[in-house]
Structure formats: C-alpha cells, structure tokens
Amino acid sequence: MPDQHYEPERALAGAGLGGTTELGVDEAEVLQRPPAGPDGTGEQGPPRSLWSDAWRDLRRNPVFIVSALIICFLIVISLWPSLIASGSPLKCDLSKAQEGSQPGHPFGFNGQGCDVYTRTVYGARTSVAVGVLATLGVAVLGSVLGALAGFFGGVWDSVLSRVTDVFFAIPVVLGGLVLLSVITSNTVWPVIGFIVLLGWPPISRIARGAVITVKQNDYVQAARALGASNTRLLLRHIAPNAIAPVIVVATIALGTYIALEATLSYLGVGLKPPSVSWGIDISAASPYVRNAPHALLWPSGALAVTVLAFIMLGDAVRDALDPKLR
C-alpha cells in the first residue's frame, strides 16, 4: 500500500488549495521524512497510552530488566520460600553455632546455630511485605491528599499543609521506639501502619507540588476551555503528568522502608523473635562479627541488594514515564 504515503498531497489537493504554494518550511520538511514501514512494522503497533509506551521503553532497558528480575525473584521466594530452602528457619542446633559453610548449609550457621541460608530466604518475606504494602499505603494516602490539596487549594490546602508539618516534626526512629514499643502484636501490620502514618507527608507534599505545577500549564486551561470537567482534568490531564515524581520517590522510598523495618527490628521494636527478619538477624549477628562474619554479611547483603533493586526500578520507571526523554 505505497500510496498511503501520498495522502498528504492528496489531502492538500482535496482541500482545493494550491498544494505546492501552501507548503511552508515545516510541511516540506515533514514530507521529505522517510515514511514509516509500509506494512506497519516497527513503530506502527498499537502503542496507545503513556503507560503502554512506557512499558515498551522499559522492556528494552537493561537496568529495568535486572532490577525487575531481582524483584520477581524476591516476590516468588517470599511467597513460597520452601521452593529453594527445604529446612525451617526456626530449627536451630546450638552445637553448630557460628560454624561456617558446609554441605547442605551454604551460608553456615548463626550464633544460635540456625541455618543462615534458610533464615535469609525466609527473611525476604517480611521485607517484601513491609516494603510493598507500606509503599502502597503511603503512595495512595499521600498522593490522594496531596493532589486534592494542590488542585482545589484554599482552606483544604492550608489545613493539610499544617497537618503535614506536624507529621514532619516527628523523628522516625524515636517515633517508632515510642509508638511500637507499646504494641505487643508480633506481625508486620503494626510496622506497616507506623510507616504509612509517618511516610505519607513527604509523598503528599511532592504530589501537591507536582499537581500545582502541572495545573498551571496551558494544556490544563486548554482542556478546560474545550469542556473538560474537574474530575477529567485531575485524572486525565494532571495526574499522568504529576505522577512520575510520586512513583519515583515511592519506589526509592520502598527501599528505605525495607531498611526502616530492619532498623526497627534491629532496635527490638519492629518484629521480634520468633519472627524472621533480616533486621533481627543483623542485630543478633553484629556482636559476633569477628567470629562469624557470614551470619552478618548474608542478611546484610540480601538487604542491600533488595534496596538497590527497588531504587534502580524507580530510576528506570522515571525515565520511561517521561516521553520527552525518548
């Protein structure tokens, strides 16, 4: 169907205007560009939305592939740890305490004689659950509140900004020590709740700022001038343009939330034994780092790789969500 490429001329002629005299600099330049593949190959697929285009970009990005593979792996082993670790993280044998790597126990044993490999694998569950759920909670709460404040402004904005300031003033670790030490439940939920409670203000502030910036753009006014409602303006024109910083900060924050869970567990107010968490293991192993460094290094390494993977994912997603970088 080669004549498809001559449509521009046809359109010009069809409009009953002197085709060539109407051609200005930019039209001529466009016409000279090599047309897209005649049989609809390459870029001619059905890329419709920002998201499908972003996905197409992401699939080609090695940083994204590596971090996504690590994250998929983490999610799989946190759902089904027995796939790669046959023993129980709570089955310990004090006679083997601090022993190094040996057949069947590649990471050796910790101070309590528990298998470090098994405990590291099972620890992923806590970290991934806390990281993912806390980030979802923070992102939803923070961006909804921030976006409404930024879009509608006025009293709603003033009240929210002051509330944000109050939460900003609470030191995270001190707040955790105070609030979580009174909770006896030994599940991940109090930790997630605490992180959401203290984590939403920065996201809300970013979302508010992004919405205010985007709201002032001419295309928002243009969309309004062409009859778009507030809901449509906010969801279709503002949110996609304002969401990138929220996603980036939230993905990077996910890593820090995992680290925060480890910190709180290390301090003894997050999860407590017999729960399994990298924070608990790091805490337990740190006094014996000279005699049994492996008991500290494996959970620390797993924590570092996990945090890094989420931060890399955040970067890749940010690049893909900005069409101007393409």
Binding site: L226, A228, N241, P323
Partner: protein, 324 residues
C-alpha cells in the same frame, strides 16, 4: 447576534490593591464574522476572552458586572456544569503556544478524540477515526501515521494546526483565538491564519481574534475593536480604521508599524507606558500619553461616541483625530 458582551467588568485582587483589568467592555460578534481585538499586553484583551470562555481563575479574578449573551443565554448566569457543555461544543478557544497547550503525555490523536468521547459519547474507536479526519482537514501530512505521535514530535505550525483541529472538532459556533500566530515563524503564520480563515468561512463560525499584529488583522478581520486599559477605545470596520483612525491610540499603533518607505528613519513609538491597572489615570486613561490631550481629558472619561452607524470612538476629539 451570536455573541454579545455587555458592559463586562473584571478585576483582580492583588497585594498592591485591586487591578481593574476589564472596565466595561462591550462587543458583538455575528455568525461568520471576524472581530479582531487589538491592544498591547495588559490591555485586558485576554482577560475578556477568559471571562467569556469561563476559564478565568477565580480567585484572584472576579467578574464584577456585565453580561455575556451567547446564542440568547447569559453565560455568566449558568451553572458550571451547563457552562462546561458550552465550552468546546458551543465555543472553543485557540491558545498562543500550542506546545504548552497540548498535553505532553497524550498522543495528539487521543487529545482530539477525547473531544468526541467527552461531548458526544462516542466510542474511542470512532473518536480516533474522527481524529484522523480532523488532522487531514487541517492539512497535517500523513495524518494516519502521525495520529499516534506526541505533541513534541510535531513542528510549531503543525502543533497549532492540531490546536485548531481540536477547536473546530465539534463545529462550535464561535472560536476565540488568543494570539494564535504569535509563537510561530513568519512563514508559518500566514499558513495558519489562512487555514483558520478558511475553516471559519466553511463552518460560518464567529471568530474573535485577539492579537497585537496589525498585519494579521488587515488580512482577515471584518471589524476591529481596539482596547486600552481594560476599555474599548475604538470599534470600527477594518477598512475605516486603516483609512483614518478615530482615536489617537489607534493612530499611534498604526504609526508604529515599520514601513518599507520609511527605511532609515526612526520608528515612531507611543511615548510613555501603559498604565498600572491598580492606578488607572482619572478621565481618559490614555491622556498622559496622548498628543491631543487637553484639560477636558484629565477630568472627563469619554464614552464611546458614535462616529458613524458602524463606528465608535472613545475620544473627546475624535473629529480632530479623524482629520489627522
């Protein structure tokens, strides 16, 4: 009468006091007619347009008086939900900078198609087909391929064509174009203006053309309204104004256009600066800059005097001005 603006007043509350941006503007536009609104930056021409469209930022803006009668209804009395139905379908607006007026993360075809989905309840499939037709209509080459591209992948002229396509999508009765060619190359300006004029003739739309480009006005406008400090100071058919302006400000604008036969001479400029809108001079707002100003101008604010049946001038000494 398609659109009639009567005695419109708009003010802005600012830290420095109340800025009176629009002070009793009245104009009329008929179907198929082009009214050019001419004036410097800050003369209130864009604010008037925003008030007519209903996209004025309120606060800080406030409409303190007047009526905007469009197809027999006073838009200022409508509820926001009804007002929204008028925008896009009844009247549409074209903005100065098409790059910033198109959403950067949505392919242009979807932005065009959205008009049909929102206002006409069309399916996305049909709406996209209409988007391609529209892009063909504003003569964008290879519309079928380019419909999926993003705004930044188009040149300036092409983007403004897309804005025009969005504005005419629902065949509105009135288009307000706010300096549609200012951000474009001179060569592209003429093409875009021709396209706009052609579409206007075809659909018999009323066109309010806001500009400070006298060349553009001479080509396409039927009538001209000249604005100064939030008021219309002269209103006349385009030919009359170019032949002999009836207001010293209009004369000043015409005289400050560079002409080839004046090569080497100093270009005329209206002396002084436009007034601060929080402190508009008493009497005629133009008197501090006016070569014809006398005692009367300092105390008495001139109303729009009838120069002829189709022409008005807000100058006490319009006869003198008309005679040159």
């Amino acid at each position: 009468m398609l659109l009639e603006v009567r005695d419109l007043h708009v003010e802005f509350r600012t830290r420095d006091g109340v800025a009176r941006a629009v002070n009793g503007v009245s104009y009329q536009v008929d179907a198929g007619e082009t009214l050019a609104i001419l004036g410097e930056s800050g003369s209130g021409k864009s604010v008037t347009a925003q008030a007519v469209m209903g996209i004025l930022d309120m606060p800080p803006g406030r409409i303190t008086g007047g009526e905007v009668i469009f197809q027999g209804r006073d838009l200022l009395k409508l509820k926001e939900a009804e007002r929204r139905k008028v925008r896009g379908a009844g009247m549409a607006m074209i903005f100065q900078d098409a790059l910033s007026s198109l959403n950067p993360v949505i392919p242009v075809g979807d932005q065009l198609g959205e008009m049909f989905v929102v206002h006409r309840g069309m399916s996305w499939r049909d709406a996209r087909a209409r988007a391609v037709e529209l892009m063909d209509r504003v003569r964008i080459p290879a519309a079928r391929e380019r419909v999926r591209q993003y705004p930044h992948q188009f040149s300036g002229g092409m983007r403004q064509r897309i804005m025009i396509a969005m504005a005419i999508a629902l065949e509105p009765a009135l288009i307000i174009a706010d300096e549609p060619t200012t951000a474009l190359d001179v060569t592209v300006q003429a093409q875009v203006m021709d396209l706009l004029a052609e579409l206007q003739r075809e659909y018999r739309m009323g066109l309010v053309l806001i500009t400070h480009d006298l060349g553009v006005v001479a080509d396409v406008a039927d009538r001209i309204a000249v604005m100064y400090a939030g008021r219309i100071v002269e209103s006349a058919p385009v030919y009359d104004i170019y032949k002999a302006p009836a207001h010293p400000y209009t004369r000043g604008l015409l005289d400050s256009v560079p002409r080839l036969d004046q090569k080497g001479q100093e270009l005329y400029a209206i002396k002084g600066l436009p007034p601060n809108l929080t402190r508009i001079p008493p009497g005629c707002a133009f008197h501090p800059r006016c070569p014809l100003a006398r005692g009367l101008c300092r105390v008495d604010e001139p109303s729009l005097f009838e120069v002829s049946a189709t022409r008005g001038s807000a100058c006490h000494f319009w006869r003198e001005c008309l005679d040159g």
